[in-house]
């Protein structure tokens, strides 16, 4: 009976996937994608994850987990698997799986969808589960510590620098996304600003008025957030007040930088912790709502399966479908960042090793499904509308007429009237060139929600979606700055002891300012870039994130080989090889391509030539030297990523080779076996 059921799932999945791949014509229903995805996740979880867990990881429920052995009632606490699943999912799923697929939709729905499914089932889920188990067996050690313990100092240092750099790029690109969503949008700006005092209020509530009553505090906060969305509409409708919230991108960037600095030095309980509770509730609620709405509305996908932009001429970002779809969609397929979460808080909560499969593999499959929903939300828009929102004026021309003419000439008809009508419906003055992915996702989500729950509230849904993204982007920004600060203090503390004292105020101020300055610089450049900035920063982030995944998979492969299971090492070695190929190819193209839309040096040279020839308009000539410097810096940064990845891979190969030859390697850092009380 069970076999029949799984056979049916396999047949249904194959049918849906085949339908997707072979479909040619006007539009296809989103349900095809949903069904294919759910079947693939179910099969991957039921069979592949079970096989990896049993054979490769040798999960042993009789072995006591650190939560059981070291139970202290605080961070080491054996916890019900579904509760850990919820915590872990809330920790790994951020704005990444929403933005990446939205940008990658320029290639059509098929390339991104296939990569999300295959990448997750064979790569991302395996990485998360493996790192989670390895860290659980090592008392919850971090990825950096495991790299140092198992491979050596090179791996450890690479993991540490990789984490720090990726944090800086991630925060900059997310800051840019939020700035682009708020630019000249009084409604969005007022709503996002309002989330700050609301979080502070909840923080005071949770600390002073009703200590630790999270549910009460969060419900109050969520109600206020919804009020803020509606209130933003009143602000927008009032000619007197709306001017207070109508800003240029650059002004907003300075706001975000100032906010990030304040948030990093304020106590956690005041802003970060309460906003994170709001963000977690909002995230889980909205994702569930979106899934239900897609099932009810069953929207048609209007984007072609594959567009002409797979040749590298895409307007959202430059580069061919290989390797750039694999770089653009990191979160949702394989995300190295997850390895940091899977080797931090989560392993200390696991009650039994048998829970690792659900928590590691299952949470990532769910995140991957979020990415699929983002892909659906992006591709159900008219392609012309999608490109009008996501393309910068530097590419399609500064005026609405020029933009629609260019986009229509690509074969994606769109009119100025259509865009104005859409903007009016969404309560915005314009939707042209709102790059970064968040606004087009919000338009897509608003259409799905309005299609399901009534057409009247499009503008409210749009700004709800913007607020939803803003809340967790700000959480990532704030948490990332803080983690970066701790890492910097830790590293610099080796050079000069006092700077390592995490509560010494001068050190806190200095290191926080350094981190904020680092991401603030990239954010600033992204905002002044007439091509929108996202087309530079997002690939950089993707490469950095895949680089971190390559480091994590190298650590995992090294450990598997050291344990004498070299014949199973392909489980992590295959995704590692793929990521190494993709990251290196993409990085090399970003460095040496002579197409200024792809290569950093080429773009710098192109701009320098135009500047020298005096063909740039004055406002662009004024920022050109900064843009030229930044392109060169990005090229060197990309080269640095490649060197780091290959250093770690070489180190892993060295350790594996020695282990296979029976030569001395670093001893396993696994905690010794202790029997679990629950199965004894």
């Amino acid at each position: 009976m069970k076999r029949l059921f799984w056979l049916a799932v396999a047949a249904l999945g194959a049918y849906a996937l085949g339908g997707l791949a072979l479909h040619r014509g006007e539009s296809i229903n989103a349900l095809w994608i949903v069904v294919a995805a759910v079947c693939i996740y179910a099969l991957g979880f039921r069979f592949y994850s079970a096989w990896v867990a049993a054979r490769v990881l040798a999960i042993d429920p009789t072995r006591a987990t650190p939560a059981e052995r070291l139970d202290n009632g605080r961070d080491f606490v054996p916890t019900n698997r579904w509760i850990v699943f919820g915590h872990h999912f809330a920790a790994i799923a951020g704005p990444g799986p929403l933005i990446g697929p939205t940008l990658a939709a320029q290639f059509g729905y098929l390339p991104g969808t296939l990569w999300i499914l295959v990448g997750a089932v064979l790569g991302g889920c395996v990485q998360d589960m493996t790192i989670l188990l390895l860290s659980t067996r090592r008392n919850g050690r971090s990825l950096g510590q495991m790299a140092r313990d198992e491979l050596g100092p090179v791996g450890g240092a690479a993991a540490l620098t990789g984490t720090l750099v990726i944090m800086v790029i991630l925060i900059a690109v997310l800051g840019l996304v939020i700035v682009n969503a708020m630019k000249h949008s009084p409604w969005a700006t007022a709503t996002v600003f309002a989330t700050i005092p609301i979080a502070i209020l909840v923080g005071l509530y949770l600390r002073n008025w009703r200590p630790g009553r999270v549910l009460e505090g969060s419900l109050i906060g969520i109600s206020l957030l919804i009020l803020a969305v509606v209130g933003g509409g009143w602000v927008n409708a009032s000619p007197a007040i709306r001017g207070w919230f109508d800003y240029e991108g650059l002004t907003l960037a300075w706001f975000v930088i100032g906010y990030g600095w304040c948030a990093a030095i304020l106590p956690v309980w005041l802003l970060l912790a309460p906003r994170d509770y709001l963000s977690a509730f909002l995230k889980l609620g909205t994702i569930a709502l979106l899934a239900v709405a897609i099932l009810i509305a069953q929207p048609d996908i209007k984007m072609p399966a594959v567009t002409q932009f797979i040749d590298g001429s895409g307007p959202v970002f430059g580069g061919k479908v290989f390797p750039f779809v694999f770089i653009t969609i990191a979160c949702g397929a394989v995300s190295g960042f997850h390895a940091l979460v899977a080797s931090g808080t989560t392993p200390k909560l696991i009650a039994s090793e048998s829970d690792v499969r659900l928590i590691g593999y299952g949470s990532m499959a769910l995140e991957s499904f979020v990415a699929i929903m983002a892909m659906i939300a992006a591709t159900l828009l008219d392609p012309g509308v999608y490109f009008a929102i996501n393309t910068a004026p530097g590419i399609v021309g500064g005026t609405a007429d020029a933009a629609v003419a260019t986009i229509s000439s690509w074969g994606f008809p769109v009119t100025v009237d259509q865009m104005h009508a859409l903007a009016r419906e969404m309560g915005e003055s314009t939707l042209f060139a709102r790059t970064g992915g968040a606004p087009s996702l919000a338009v897509g989500m608003a259409s799905i929600f309005a299609g399901t729950f009534g057409q009247g509230l499009l503008a409210i849904w749009y700004h709800f979606a913007i607020m939803f993204e803003a809340v967790f982007i700000l959480t990532t920004l704030d948490a990332g700055t803080r983690v970066g600060r701790f890492m910097l203090q830790d590293t610099l503390g080796n050079l000069w002891k006092p700077i390592g004292r995490t509560s010494w105020y001068p050190s806190v101020l200095a290191t926080s300012s350094l981190i904020v300055a680092a991401w603030g610089y990239f954010l600033y450049i992204g905002v002044i870039d007439p091509n929108g900035g996202v087309h530079i920063l997002w690939p950089l982030f993707g490469i950095a994130n895949q680089m971190l995944a390559a480091i994590a998979l190298s650590v995992a492969t090294g450990i598997i080989v050291k344990q004498g299971k070299a014949r199973y090492a392909w489980v992590t070695l295959v995704p590692l090889t793929w990521l190494a190929i993709v990251t290196t190819t993409a990085a090399m193209q970003k460095i040496i391509s002579d197409d200024p839309r792809i290569g950093f040096f080429a773009a710098a040279g192109d701009l320098a030539a135009k500047l020298a020839a005096g063909t740039l308009p004055p406002e662009r000539a004024a920022v050109a030297p900064q843009l030229i410097f930044n392109q060169q810096l990005d090229a060197w940064l990309t080269a640095f990523f490649v060197v780091v990845v290959w250093l770690v891979i070489a180190d892993m190969l060295r350790v594996s080779w020695r282990a296979l030859q029976g030569k001395a390697v670093l001893p396993s850092s696994e905690a010794p076996y202790a029997p679990s009380r629950s199965t004894a």
């Binding site: 009632g73 912790a273 808080t345 701790f486």
Partner: protein
């Protein structure tokens, strides 16, 4: 066995309280009373402040 007799609503309440961290303090107190009986316990507020600080020291939010 106890869990069986609990009403579904109470079970759901307990699950939510554990999921969002409302029950963290009770859990900590239960643990301390069982393992280190007689030692002084932090107040709910002290516990909350310490936990929040601890939680946000490492990477626990992702992209």
């Amino acid at each position: 066995m106890n869990r069986r007799r609990e009403s579904p609503a109470a079970w759901l309440r307990r699950l939510i309280a554990r999921l969002n961290g409302d029950a963290a303090y009770e859990r900590f107190v239960a643990h301390r009373c069982a393992v280190h009986p007689g030692e002084p316990l932090p107040s709910r507020r002290e516990f909350w402040c310490g936990e929040v600080e601890r939680k946000w020291r490492g990477v626990n939010r992702c992209c």
